[in-house]
């Protein structure tokens, strides 16, 4: 494997925070993070890109597809400092726990993002565009303000 493309949910704060964290780590296998509902994702992976992704999807340059907990483990495997952890999490004794945890997080990700005040990429992009509109004096009184 020479590279790994990760499709994440850009509308979820938790996922976007994870995306920023992944991009900040030193990588053994280069990671490319794409919003699952982006044009680029749709163009390159028409069968995988979704507007409302249910889980994290990772695709290798060879076309291997990993989903959900497996995708997370492969992401860790791609990172220099967390490769050991990927092997630990993939052990038969731990994999079901990881699966439960990832599922638990995935189903509650929007609620968790709100509770932890994690802003999604989509929200940040929206805030930026409306702020830009404000600067050119074309926004309403309450628009563009970040909470």
């Amino acid at each position: 494997m020479r590279s790994l493309t990760v499709l994440y949910d850009a509308r979820c704060g938790l996922c976007s925070t994870a995306r920023r964290w992944l991009e900040g780590q030193s990588q053994i296998v280069p990671l490319e993070l794409l919003a699952a509902d982006s044009e680029e994702a749709r163009r390159r992976y028409p069968t995988l890109a979704e507007a409302e992704p249910e889980e994290l999807v990772a695709v290798s340059d060879e076309g291997d597809v990993y989903r959900g907990p497996q995708a997370w483990i492969v992401c860790l495997w791609a990172l220099e400092d967390y490769r050991e952890w990927s092997f630990r999490f993939a052990r038969p004794a731990l994999l079901p726990r990881v699966r439960d945890l990832v599922e638990w997080l995935s189903t509650r990700r929007h609620r968790l993002s709100r509770a932890l005040r994690m802003r999604s990429d989509a929200e940040i992009a929206a805030a930026l565009t409306s702020a830009a509109r404000c600067e050119s004096g074309r926004c309403g009184p309450r628009e563009g303000r970040t909470r």
Partner: protein, 135 residues
């Protein structure tokens, strides 16, 4: 009355025997650990030799340090019997310390090797699907 010569002889035998044992274990480690290290460093022999040498230096320092610290005894031997008993206890302790150090070294070797294997290992989970990739 003649001076008691047993303590001095016991000490001399103790030191020479302990140092010989340490050297024997260190050489064994040096000789047989090399292959592990060469593998762990992906065939980089110069680096493996360097790490091997440094490990052996640490091994010598700790063991000879222990041997010299443990030399002094409160109960002085006064005949050949008590001298052998004392020597036996002292050498037994040195052997246990050597054994412990040896296992520590083995752990270091195997950790390094395992880490090296993982650097080139494929992902720990199999893919769930395969899609054709566009060039």
């Amino acid at each position: 009355m003649e001076p008691n010569i047993y303590p001095v002889w016991t000490y001399l035998v103790y030191v020479s025997l302990s140092v010989t044992l340490t050297m024997w274990v260190a050489r064994t480690l040096h000789k047989n650990g090399r292959i592990f290290l060469v593998d762990a460093f992906h065939g980089n022999e110069a680096l493996a030799d360097s790490v091997n040498h440094l490990l052996v230096v640490g091994f010598y320092l700790i063991n000879i340090g222990y041997v010299t610290l443990a030399l002094k005894t409160a109960q002085k031997p006064f005949d050949i019997e008590t001298a052998i008993e004392l020597l036996s206890t002292k050498i037994g302790l040195v052997l246990l310390v050597l054994g412990g150090m040896h296992f520590m070294n083995m752990i270091v070797f195997s950790r390094l090797r395992r880490r090296a294997m993982r650097e080139v290992a494929p992902p720990p989970v199999p893919p769930q699907a395969r899609i054709p990739v566009r060039a």
